[in-house]
C-alpha cells in the first residue's frame, strides 16, 4: 500500500482545510495515486490538468434550471476536505449557489482506494423555492473536452490512422472505459461510467449511452434534486503507464470483483465450456427429416457434422414456427412427434453414443395464462427424466429464471444456454452459456470482424457465434470473427425453412477453428486474455489469449485494411522461445529481435485473420 502514502500537493494555504474556504488563489493541484489533477476555482470550477492532458480548461459542470444557465462566477466554495489514511484517500470540494429563489449545494470528490483507480463523484442538492422542484439539466464540459481530445477512444474504438473506428463491441451493462493515451500510447487514462443499475438513482443516468453516442456534445442529463446531496456522476478513472491493455486489465479486475462466479467453477457443468459447435436442427426440412420414412435423420446429421469438425451439441427445434396454429403448447408438440417422447429419447441416445449433448428450446413467449415458469420447470424436469436431454436453450432470453435454476440442483450437469448474451450481473452469474448472435434481416447487415468485450471480461462464459441470415462473404466473415474472438459457433443452415448452407471451404475453416479451440482451450478460455491490444500497424487489430501463467499466448490478428501488410505487427512482451501460425491462410511470419525487444512480423493479406501461438522464455 505504499502508493497511498504519497503526499497530496496543495497549491494553497492549509487554512483551506478548515471549514471556511478563504484562500484567494483558489487553485488546487493534487496527486492521488497515479493521478495528477489541477482544479481552478477562480471563475468557476475548472479542471485544468489531468495527468498528461494539459490545458483542459473546462468547467466540470454546467447547470441549467428551467432552461436558464446558472451564471459562472457565482459558485461559492464552502469547504475543501481532505482525508488520507492507509486505506483511503479523499479530497472533496463543497460549493453552493443561490440562483433566483432556489439554493443549490454540490460536492466534487475524488476517492482513491487503489493506486490506479480513482472515483470521481459529483453530487448536487437543491432547496426549492416553496418546495416546488424545477427541471434541472446538467452538462459536463470537461468530459466533452476529453472526448474532443485527438487521442480519445470511446469503448472499443481504435484509430485506423485517420479516424476512430469501432472494432470492439460489448452488449452488457458493464461499459468498458473510454481511453485517452499520450501520443506514444503509453501513458493512458480510462474513464468508466459504472452503470449497473442506473434507474435506482440519479447517478450516471444516461452517461454510458452518451459516451457511446456521436452526439455527446449535445448530451444533457436530467436529474431530480432533493435537499440531500444526491450522486449525479460516479466516474472511475483508471491510470496506466502501460497503455490501454493495462486499463482493460484494471477494469476487468475491478468489474469481476463484484461478481459471484462460483457457478462457472462448478465441475458439474464443465462440459458446456467445450460446446464449441452447436448444431441447430430445424425439424422441418430435408436436412433433418426423412419425409418418406417419417423419421429424423440424426445419424446423417452427426455424419455431416464431421465436415465441421464434429458437433458438440445439437439443438432440436420444431415448435417455432408451428406454435399458435392451435392451443397446443410447446410441450404438447413433443407428444405429437412420431412415437411421442420416444422420438426425442432415441435421438438423444444416438447423440450420447457419439458424445454429443442434446438441447431442446424453451419458448417464454408461449407461456399461457394458465401456466407459469414453475409449471414449465416441472414439465422440463419430467422431460429430462423421460428423454435424458442435457440442456435447455432459452429462446429470445438472456437470463435464467429462478424456476429453472432449481432444475440444476436436481440435475447438476444440466445446462442452460440463452439466445441473448446475459447483460446484467445476476444473469451473468447464473446463466453460464449463451449465443453471441449478430445480424438483422431487415437491414443491410454486414458481419464485421471485431472484438467481443464480454468474451474477454468473462472468458469462462462460452459463447457460440451465429448470424443466421448471413450468406456468402458474410458467412466467411462470420468464421473469421469467430476465429478472431476464439469462440465457437452455431451451425445453423436451415433457417426456419430457408436453406442457407455453408460451403465446403467454409466447413473446412470451421473444422480447423474447432480443432484449434479444442487444442488450445486453456489459452482461449484463460483468465488473462485482452482484446484489442496495441499493434504496430493502424490497419491491424489483435486480441491476446492467455492464462495467468503467461508462458504461452495466442494472438488473433486481423488486417482490416484494403492492402496487404508486410512487416512488424506486434511488439512482444517477452523473449520468444517458439512461434507458429495455428489458423488461417498460411502466411510468412517471423520473429525479429532488436535491442532485446522481440517483434512479430507477418505478411498478411487484406481482410485476413490469422492466429499465432507464441511460447515465451520465462
Amino acid at each position: 500500500m505504499k502508493e497511498l502514502t504519497e503526499p497530496l500537493l496543495w497549491a494553497f494555504d492549509v487554512s483551506m482545510m478548515q471549514n471556511k474556504f478563504t484562500d484567494k488563489k483558489k487553485s488546487i493541484d493534487f496527486t492521488l495515486g497515479n493521478l495528477n489533477l489541477s482544479i481552478d476555482l477562480n471563475k468557476n470550477i475548472f479542471l485544468k490538468k489531468l495527468n498528461f492532458i494539459k490545458n483542459i480548461n473546462n468547467e466540470l459542470f454546467i447547470i441549467r434550471v428551467e432552461n436558464k444557465l446558472i451564471p459562472k462566477n457565482k459558485y461559492k466554495i464552502e469547504k475543501v476536505f481532505k482525508n488520507t489514511d492507509v486505506n483511503l484517500t479523499v479530497i472533496s470540494i463543497d460549493f453552493s449557489q443561490n440562483f433566483e429563489n432556489d439554493f443549490f449545494k454540490g460536492r466534487i470528490s475524488f476517492v482513491q482506494k487503489k493506486k490506479n483507480i480513482i472515483d470521481f463523484i459529483f453530487q448536487l442538492s437543491a432547496r426549492w423555492h416553496k418546495d416546488i422542484p424545477k427541471k434541472v439539466l446538467l452538462k459536463f464540459p470537461f468530459i466533452i473536452n476529453l472526448h474532443k481530445n485527438k487521442n480519445f477512444l470511446k469503448p472499443g474504438d481504435i484509430f485506423d490512422g485517420k479516424k476512430r473506428i469501432k472494432k470492439g463491441v460489448w452488449n452488457l451493462h458493464e461499459y468498458p472505459p473510454s481511453i485517452i493515451s499520450d501520443n506514444l500510447g503509453i501513458e493512458t487514462l480510462g474513464f468508466e461510467f459504472y452503470d449497473q443499475f442506473p434507474w435506482q438513482a440519479n447517478y450516471n443516468l444516461g452517461m454510458s449511452e452518451a459516451i457511446s453516442s456521436e452526439n455527446f456534445e449535445k448530451f444533457e442529463t436530467e436529474v431530480q434534486l432533493t435537499q440531500e446531496l444526491t450522486d449525479i456522476i460516479l466516474m472511475k478513472i483508471y491510470t496506466s503507464s502501460k497503455g490501454r491493455e493495462k486499463i482493460f486489465s484494471l477494469w476487468k479486475e475491478n468489474t469481476r470483483k463484484r461478481y459471484d462466479l462460483r457457478k462457472y467453477r462448478d465441475s458439474n457443468n464443465r462440459w458446456i465450456k467445450k460446446n464449441y459447435l452447436q448444431h441447430f436442427m430445424f425439424a422441418y426440412g430435408e436436412e433433418a427429416f426423412d419425409y418418406k420414412k417419417i423419421q429424423f435423420k440424426i445419424n446423417k446429421i452427426i455424419k455431416e457434422g464431421k465436415q465441421f469438425g464434429g458437433y458438440d451439441s445439437i439443438l432440436f427445434w420444431h415448435q417455432y414456427p408451428r406454435l399458435g396454429l392451435d392451443e397446443s403448447n410447446q410441450w404438447q408438440l413433443y407428444k405429437y412427434l412420431p412415437k411421442n417422447y420416444k422420438t426425442i429419447k432415441k435421438i438423444v441416445d444416438i447423440c450420447h453414443s457419439h458424445n454429443i449433448k442434446f438441447f431442446i428450446p424453451f419458448k417464454p413467449w408461449d407461456i399461457r395464462s394458465n401456466e407459469s415458469l414453475d409449471s414449465h420447470a416441472k414439465s422440463l424436469e419430467k422431460f429430462i427424466k423421460e428423454t435424458n436431454i442435457d440442456g435447455f436453450f432459452l429462446d429470445t432470453m438472456s437470463s435464467l429464471p429462478e424456476s429453472f435454476l432449481k432444475i440444476q440442483k436436481k440435475f447438476p450437469s444440466f445446462e442452460f444456454c440463452s439466445e441473448g448474451t446475459p447483460r446484467e450481473q445476476r444473469q451473468i452469474e447464473t446463466l453460464t452459456s449463451s449465443w453471441d448472435q449478430i445480424g438483422d434481416i431487415r437491414r443491410n447487415f454486414k458481419v464485421d470482424i471485431n472484438s467481443n468485450f464480454f468474451r474477454f471480461l468473462f472468458p469462462e462464459h462460452p459463447l457460440n457465434l451465429v448470424s443466421r441470415w448471413s450468406v456468402g462473404s458474410d458467412k466467411d466473415a462470420l468464421i473469421k470473427r469467430a476465429a478472431f474472438n476464439g469462440m465457437g459457433m452455431v451451425i445453423w443452415q436451415d433457417i426456419f425453412g430457408c436453406w442457407l448452407p455453408f460451403s465446403i471451404e467454409q466447413k473446412k475453416k470451421i473444422k480447423s477453428l474447432k480443432n484449434i479451440l479444442k487444442k488450445y482451450h486453456k489459452y482461449f478460455y484463460g483468465d488473462n486474455s485482452i482484446p484489442l491490444i496495441k499493434t504496430l500497424s493502424k490497419k491491424i487489430i489483435c486480441n491476446e489469449f492467455s492464462n495467468s501463467q503467461g508462458k504461452q499466448k495466442i494472438y488473433s490478428i486481423y488486417n482490416f485494411g484494403s492492402n496487404k501488410i508486410n512487416g512488424r505487427i506486434l511488439k512482444l512482451p517477452l523473449a520468444v522461445m517458439e512461434f507458429k501460425q495455428i489458423y488461417g491462410k498460411k502466411v510468412n511470419i517471423q520473429i525479429e529481435k532488436k535491442q532485446n525487444t522481440f517483434y512479430l512480423l507477418a505478411n498478411l493479406d487484406a481482410n485476413d485473420v490469422i492466429l499465432v501461438n507464441i511460447k515465451f522464455k520465462i
Binding site: 422441418y284 412420431p338 413467449w365
Partner: protein, 230 residues
C-alpha cells in the same frame, strides 16, 4: 343439433389477378405470390367447411383409417358437435374424404377466388373487417353456419375464421415440404412469434411446414371441397 345440407355453389370460370400476402415472420414460402394471371375453371364448391357429421358419415361408409392415426380426430366428434367443422385431419385425411365425395381440395389460387371474387374483396363479405361476421377471436369452434352474414360473394360461409382450411398440394422447394393454409381460425395466440391467428384476409396464406401426421393435424385445421364442373 339440427343438421343441414352443405350445398354446393357453382363458380363460373374466370380469370383473375392472383396476389397473395405471406406474413410469416421469418423466411419465405418459395411460391409465386403474384401478381399473376390465374384461370379458374368452372367449379362447384362446398358452401361450408366439411363438418364433423359429414366426416363421420364418410368414416362410417368407407371405414377409412389413416396410415398414421396420431391425433386423428382427437376432438372425438359426436352428435353434439356434428355441425362444427371437422378438424384434426391431415391433408391426406382431407384428400381421402374429398375423393370419396367426388371432389378435391381447392388450390391456393381457387380458394382465394372463392373468397375474394372478381371484385378482389379483402374479406369474404367486403373490404372492411367485421369481427361479428366471423369466428375471429373466440375460444372455440362454432357451427359452420353460424356466420351466414359473413358469406363470400358466391355464398360460401366461414371463409374467414373458425378453422383454417387445407388447400391442395404439397409444395417442395427442394429442401422442405409444405402446404398452404387459408382463412385463419378462431384461435388467436397472444404473441407475435405465434402463428398469426384469428380470421385472416382473403389474400393471406400461411405456410404449414410438413412433418409427421401428428404435427400436421391441429385443432383449428379443417377443409372444404371443390368439384370440377362443366
Amino acid at each position: 343439433m339440427k343438421s343441414f345440407v352443405n350445398k354446393k355453389i357453382f363458380i363460373e370460370s374466370n380469370e383473375y389477378t392472383y396476389r397473395v400476402e405471406h406474413l410469416t415472420l421469418e423466411g419465405t414460402c418459395s411460391t409465386d405470390h403474384g401478381p399473376r394471371n390465374v384461370k379458374i375453371k368452372n367449379l362447384l364448391v362446398d358452401k361450408y367447411p366439411v363438418t364433423n357429421q359429414q366426416y363421420y358419415f364418410f368414416l362410417k361408409k368407407t371405414g377409412y383409417q389413416p396410415r398414421d392415426s396420431q391425433r386423428f380426430l382427437e376432438h372425438k366428434p359426436n352428435k353434439k358437435i356434428f355441425n362444427l367443422p371437422v378438424v384434426f385431419v391431415s391433408q391426406n385425411d382431407a384428400i381421402a374424404y374429398a375423393k370419396w365425395v367426388g371432389g378435391r381440395l381447392p388450390t391456393d389460387e381457387e380458394w382465394q377466388y372463392i373468397a375474394a371474387g372478381p371484385k378482389y374483396l379483402d374479406w369474404p363479405w367486403g373490404n372492411k373487417f367485421n369481427p361479428l361476421l366471423c369466428n375471429h377471436d373466440g375460444n372455440k369452434l362454432v357451427p359452420v353456419n353460424t356466420h351466414r352474414k359473413g358469406e363470400s360473394w358466391c355464398g360460401c360461409v366461414d371463409m374467414a375464421g373458425n378453422c383454417w382450411e387445407w388447400t391442395a398440394g404439397i409444395h417442395d422447394d427442394g429442401n422442405h415440404q409444405f402446404a398452404l393454409l387459408r382463412g385463419g381460425s378462431y384461435f388467436y395466440a397472444h404473441d407475435h412469434w405465434h402463428v398469426g391467428g384469428g380470421a385472416r384476409k382473403n389474400n393471406y396464406h400461411w405456410k404449414l411446414q410438413i412433418l409427421n401426421e401428428g404435427i400436421n393435424r391441429a385443432a383449428t385445421l379443417g377443409f372444404r371441397c371443390v368439384y370440377d364442373a362443366k
